[in-house]
Amino acid sequence: MKQRAAVLGTGQTQHRSKRADVSIAGLCREAIDRALADACLTGDQIDAVVLGKAPDLFEGVMMPELYLADALGAVGKPLLRVHTAGSVGGATGLVAASLIQAGVHRRVLAVAFEKQSESNAMWALSISPPFSMPVLAGAGGYFAPHIRSYIRRSGAPAHIGAMVAAKDRRNGARNPCAHLRQADMTMEKVLASPMLWDPVRYDETCPSSDGACAVVIGDQAAAEASGQPVAWIRGTAMRTEPTMFSGKDHVNPRAGYDCAQALWAAAGISSPVDQIDAAEIYVPFSWFEPMWLENLGFAEPGGGWRLTESGDTEITGQIPVNPSGGVLSSNPIGASGLLRFAESAMQVTGKAGEHQVAGARTALGHAYGGGSQYFSMWVVGDTPD
């Protein structure tokens, strides 16, 4: 029997291309201090800390959790580190939630970060081992062919990716923490930007950001003692599959589909498009909005782009996707998944400020990582059930 769990507070940094003013420790603390303030808690009320970040090669710091113990306030407490590539932020939130749901702890702090300016993720993701063909070209080079496959399979018009990018950048302008805040972005401007990994253009690509996110998760007693709105965790799910196997569906991965089905069952949701009020979905390249809308069951296979084209994924639409601006507006890789989870909690607690979806009561947080290999998701709501 799972114990109830709720998000008591969230915090995130000012995401920028370079946060040269802070160390990795300082970056994490900026998010942690904001999360504790949001939850009206102090560090000594935290029972355990869960840290997530993407591959160590991204900053060249092996096992950063060891040196960050002081900064995370983890001295004398359990400290776990999670790693599931780009989905790690989501997985970090779910590990923290599971420590509450299992009745192990009362309040757990989840922290995730990336300081991309310390290194070069494109280089780190393009290392060719001996004997192989050196054609790797970062995450964009990996995902662009699968986006081409989606366009072919779905028959989506060529401008859908640009529509998503313009929407997310405009949403980012509503989010004071976002790295890119481009209130005047248009589909035409996106279409005019350089082609990087054809069919993916510059403005259809996530930025490279420094940033961190922290979330405090508590049990029912902690939630009731908080005296302010909390985001109840109504369902969680994680799934994994191999990166490459014969028959892998790179457009609509089985692990993502299965994860979503398990999530909806856990959260008691039968029609996601009708019952989810806001969705924070991991969209690092704009075309992944329609792809994941289908994978998650918001639309039938081949129909995700119609939700985008009709404006239903706008902040005022039927199913607002990434009202925060999403990964396309801020991408501190290790933190990006936890940001999706935190933003979903902000929506159902009414704390999203200018990017608040009116009347949001139920929201999705989603992350994926590797070569569409890891999936992490949760549903939060303004009531426990």
Partner: protein
């Protein structure tokens, strides 16, 4: 690249990667390293009154940032040590030296640094040491080249202990930390067979005994059925492009000039595509389903690598119908 001694030998080769990482220091470490450039050593006063040198960024008890940084040393006392008879590249000294924990005068914690004592016999716990400054300033902790036996000079360069405000401008705010990793990369026996066949101009895959799917490069096991694969299948050097992108982005470490077409190439008779280059036509002419054939390097350049195929080029003929490869996308 090593020569195999037999068909069961796993091929291996060195993989070396390197990057000049940067370190944003933040206010505390920035002040510490700025002071080092000024030939002073700072510690941080903790909530319990003790002085930690080097300074902590966050108090190990209260998790708060330090309220004040105080000058310590330059003299210190060795609290424990280990002798390093054979230094390696990148270590502080190229002669045998001691790794020591050194409690600087005025500090309550010890810091790790090198002691140039000449011989292990000259090292002892409790020995007094002083810093030997390097010729560099602003390199971080290596501004101190090492410590050496003896008391610091009694006057002149030694400043009296005092309080330094964290508000002092940190002029050393960032360090560059080059890191190089050298691996011995070893491939599986199944992939070794594939690479040895490539050195003879042949393409070898393996068929799964359960699902009958042909994997190239072979993996030695089927990722779906989890059973060993041993049945080798020779494949032609022709196939189709299932999907692709045109890479226009230059980046650090890139080995192929842009623009280039990175494609998933599905060989005739294979059940999984692999990544390769498409050249020999304008990138705009590449299409999904296009038939391609391998262009091999000259035979005298062949080695145990997929690079023996320089690229794939259009083979002519009608494109494969979408339905024939849709399940490979």
């Amino acid at each position: 690249m090593s020569q195999p001694s037999g068909p069961q030998t796993a091929l291996h080769a060195v993989l070396e990667i390197s990057f000049d990482y940067t370190r944003s220091l933040g206010p505390t470490l920035g002040a510490f390293m700025t002071a080092l450039a000024d030939r002073r050593i700072l510690g941080a006063r903790a909530s319990d009154g003790s002085v930690h040198a080097p300074p902590f960024e966050y108090d190990p008890v209260t998790a708060a940032p330090p309220e004040e940084l105080v000058e310590v040393g330059p003299g210190g006392t060795v609290t424990s040590w280990s002798w390093l008879p054979a230094p390696q590249e990148g270590q502080p000294l190229d002669v045998p030296f001691g790794w020591a924990l050194i409690k600087l005068d005025g500090a309550d914690t010890a810091m790790l640094h090198a002691v140039d004592a000449g011989s292990a016999a000259a090292m002892r716990t409790g020995m007094r040491v002083r810093p030997r400054w390097s010729g560099r300033r602003g390199s971080g902790i290596t501004d101190i080249e090492c410590f050496e036996p003896g008391e610091p000079p009694a006057s002149g360069t030694v400043s009296t202990a005092g309080t330094v405000s964290t508000a002092d401008a940190a002029t050393v705010a960032m360090l560059t930390m080059p890191i190089t990793l050298s691996y011995e990369h070893t491939v599986s026996p199944g992939e070794s067979s594939f690479l040895l066949a490539l050195a003879e101009g042949r393409l070898i895959g393996q068929r799964c005994p359960a699902c009958q799917k042909v994997y190239i490069p072979p993996r030695g096991a089927c990722p779906v059925d989890g059973v060993p694969t041993q049945d080798e299948v020779q494949l032609p050097d022709t196939g189709i492009v299932t999907t692709f992108c045109v890479v226009n982005v230059p980046f650090h470490g890139q080995q192929v000039p842009v623009p280039y077409v990175a494609a998933s190439v599905l060989l005739d008779g294979a059940d999984i595509a692999f990544q390769h280059l498409i050249l020999g036509c304008d990138p705009n002419e590449v299409k999904m389903g296009m038939r391609v054939k391998a262009v091999w390097k000259p035979r005298e350049e062949w080695e145990t690598s997929l690079r023996n195929i320089e690229y794939f080029e259009p083979a002519g003929g009608p494109d494969a119908p979408y339905e024939s490869y849709a399940h490979h996308l």
